[in-house]
Subunit: 223 residues, 2 copies
Amino acid sequence: MNAQDIKRASEATIRRLPAYHRFLTQLRERGREVVSCTHISSELRLDSTQVRKDLAATGIVGKPKVGYRVAELMRSIEGFLGWNNVREAFLVGVGHLGTALLGYQGFGAYGLDIVAGFDSDPGKVDKPVHGKMVFPLDKLPDLVERMHIKIGIIATPAGAAQSVATLMVLSGILAIWNFTPVKLDVPPEIIVENMELSTSLAVLSNKLARRLASSEIVQETLP
Amino acid sequence: MNAQDIKRASEATIRRLPAYHRFLTQLRERGREVVSCTHISSELRLDSTQVRKDLAATGIVGKPKVGYRVAELMRSIEGFLGWNNVREAFLVGVGHLGTALLGYQGFGAYGLDIVAGFDSDPGKVDKPVHGKMVFPLDKLPDLVERMHIKIGIIATPAGAAQSVATLMVLSGILAIWNFTPVKLDVPPEIIVENMELSTSLAVLSNKLARRLASSEIVQETLP
DNA sequence: TAGATTGTTAATCGATTAACAATC
DNA sequence: TAGATTGTTAATCGATTAACAATC
């Protein structure tokens, strides 16, 4: 699929595609060559029509009675998500989380390669972390321009996030993956994806609070 | 608000509440005592009716012409999300990510206290990480029971995630915060919240791929 | 009081699910 | 062929947005 052919799809669809891709990886490892929507939907507990529409959004065309070829479907999803051509990224903030991200091996499968880290702390720079070089933050604009970097990852303390985002945008970064809880103020054409612990934790703790509250009621209504 | 009063709300509403809470924290720091939905909605670029309905879901009642008292509204959101009474959690997998999570100072504001780490690697146990004790994994069931722990955090390699989840459930854990890309197979009454890097990255890379593809088209149509 | 803001009902929008014809 | 599966259109569902009465 040509990059220019990437269709529009709802964010809900895009968020489900990685789960399909992961399941397809497992199928491929087991030697399966074809798969049906029915199979995928029963495994992931989704509606089969929804799976079919999600897959259709990536541009794949299946064969009635047969299904989809696993390898072809994986390529289709990868092309749609931009996982087929690896993109280089810079990470700012080499603290605990930043160090973990610099060392994470799995990003290659998602088309991401973190090529360097940046930090404003002189004590952290000029020594590699997990084999990645760490530079002073003020070197960022020059290196972004020279290496044509498009993706910036922010893993700083919250207080530094906005100024780092502004610096990234001025340097030519187009997309920011934000690991801080700060709502970044950037021009509308800049892509921002927030990886917020608090949002995820809110869902979990609300469900747990409801769960514990209802079991209290059960206890109270017992004799 | 009594815990038993926690109403149902859509997951979309729950996911927006932490952003309101963060904005309210800023207002409180600036000394603001009351706030209107209009103010919140313009700041967070949301529909004001949506904000009003989201806040109403937490049980707060505002005053026409005035708005909501900031402190009261924060307490209402905290109560709804279960952030008011701190809950203790165990973390399994003291690798790079696990270490970062053990050291993260911000969880207290969200009602979470990670009290200990666990790892199957004998080289990692029995020495504290960021002041938190790390135990051998096989000590988990006994300690979960004795300390009445309800929340488990999985930050292991993907291959270990399912067996750790099963161990947690057998030990009495009610809610799992899963930092691996594995779809966990647990009983339906167990709460699972997935913190998936791949899903977030999929949204970002799809948008970037579309963005870069459209700018290619622009270039091609130039003379 | 006048009018800004809440709370609520109605309308719209978009996503999910159901139905079914096309097809290998 | 028969029937399982795809692709697509229609119906349903739920969330968002608009309208407006209540109220401090």
